[in-house]
Subunit: 307 residues, 2 copies
């Protein structure tokens, strides 16, 4: 057990500008500033009996930066409010190191923070970024192709692997504990995509949002599922597609594109064409309807959908 | 008890842009963008057995906006992450109404949020503002006068009043439950002040920060104490000065000023001259040293000071 002062002193090394004053930041001229806030609670969004505090910090930061990737922006600065039981300096430092490590990968400076006592451990992260052209959820057009930046389902497969102690599946565990926000991909896509969202709650829910806000429907030809995730699904007698449809937290980008831009984008980015935009509905091409559902946080705003 | 979906639907009325995408905002050309984050936890920063959820939201928002006032800025947009036990729609709505009510008073738009489940109720608020000239804590100069925007101690007196059920002291209760961030005052002061901070942890601690960062000392001639707070101190056989020195959460502005600007500022703003900047130390003019201490959150970064 350590004093709060020791915790703050240690955190100051990782977050030099932690404190109570407002801090300035810069937005590149010609860019639009954008911002998003996310909260993560121990026992709800992460489980410290399965992952380290470092990983909890890392993946919380990844999820937050992914909100900027999802609109085609570049993260600039991060603020972190940490609520935690008193006195655990190792926990605080490890969390902070995880946040800092991911933020550093994307040149995102941590310019502020607050540390408070609470029974639950929680992390609130606010990211400010900038975008040249913001890609919203509401721009999908009839005839557009529907694409995703990589196969899905790896993250939930990693979580299931950890829960069942199947530690030989290293790739999905890595995908779960160290997800990669698709910042560079989002920046490329900001030139091409007609609509975009990150896959945080599962393909079914995130696609539903995109379609609903664009006022269109979609037919899915194929659901790309991460390789190891397929094996785990088979091992657990589950459907691989369900990992992608209902797993979530892959933080890949789901986007729509005018077909004439497919070739141009292929030269700049690897991606998977999974379907096309139609007038209404959300179906596979064999006519089966795609049911809504998601990895159940109970709590995330966008995992609660009216049928 | 209500479903999470109902809570979100209700919150959407108050926070229309709550959701998971990053949201854009504007900064006035010629102004510098500034940002601050704060967290508030039930049982630590507010007590719902003493105040309503509306008031908890209101005062949390006031404390957050005060961080922008403290540097001479104007708040522009607010993001709110709410962690709370499942199902209490009345609590969620009341909190949100309190936050919205204070934000509206300062034309601060709520452009994003996140709602998550947690055992503790917590609020994380991130405010983005803009400043023409940022006034920092570190600019106090030898010979400057030390001033404060209003008498102090009202807030802690209000809290003590509530705890002891002395409900006839309406002014300090109002000061505690509905503090006013000094935005307009901060904007005026941004033209004149050499250094500034908001009194959030008590005059002694906040003055200590200002002096430490400026590399100077101060002599205090008089500590202005709020009228009702004086009465309550007498009633409770406590020293009125201690309410101001160690009470905190008044959110008045403590600032330094070149003496030649006193007259000019008097024409624009009411304020109290309380002392002057000297080479070192933190003393009353009778030589008594000012001890450090503060209203004990246990948790706030800046209430933990090395002696």
């Amino acid at each position: 057990m350590s004093t709060e002062l020791e915790i703050i002193d240690r955190l100051k090394i990782l977050f030099p500008k932690i404190g109570d004053d407002a801090e300035e930041f810069n937005i590149t001229p010609g860019f639009t500033p954008v911002v998003s806030i996310d909260s993560f609670v121990q026992g709800v969004h992460f489980d410290l009996s399965l992952i380290t505090p470092y990983d909890a910090g890392y993946r919380s930061c990844a999820a937050t930066l992914s909100d900027i990737a999802a609109i085609g922006g570049r993260p600039k600065v991060l603020l972190c409010a940490l609520g935690m039981p008193e006195g655990n300096i190792t926990l605080a430092e490890s969390l902070a190191r995880g946040i800092r490590s991911l933020a550093d990968k994307f040149d995102t400076e941590i310019i502020g923070g607050d540390t408070v006592k609470s029974k639950d451990l929680f992390i609130s992260l606010c990211v400010i970024g900038e975008a040249k052209r913001i890609v919203r959820r509401n721009g999908a057009k009839l005839g557009d192709v529907l694409c995703v930046t990589a196969p899905l389902g790896g993250s939930v497969a990693g979580l299931k692997t950890l829960k069942n102690n199947l530690t030989s599946f290293k790739e999905v565990i890595e995908k779960y504990i160290h997800p990669k926000p698709r910042i560079e991909e989002g920046l490329i896509l900001s030139e091409f995509a007609t609509s975009m969202i990150d896959v945080s709650d599962g393909l079914s829910i995130d696609l539903y949002h995109l379609l609903k806000e664009s006022g269109v429907g979609a037919i899915i030809h194929s659901v790309p599922v991460e390789k190891e995730a397929k094996k785990i699904a088979m091992l657990m007698e589950e459907k691989p597609d369900d990992f992608a449809l209902y797993g979530g937290e892959d933080f890949e980008l789901l986007f729509t594109l005018n077909r004439k831009n497919l070739g141009k984008l292929r030269k700049k980015l690897n991606f998977f064409e999974i379907g096309e935009i139609v007038k209404e509905g959300m179906r596979f091409d064999d006519g089966r309807e795609i049911k809504l559902g998601g990895y159940d946080h109970f709590t995330k705003v966008n995992s609660k959908i009216k049928y």
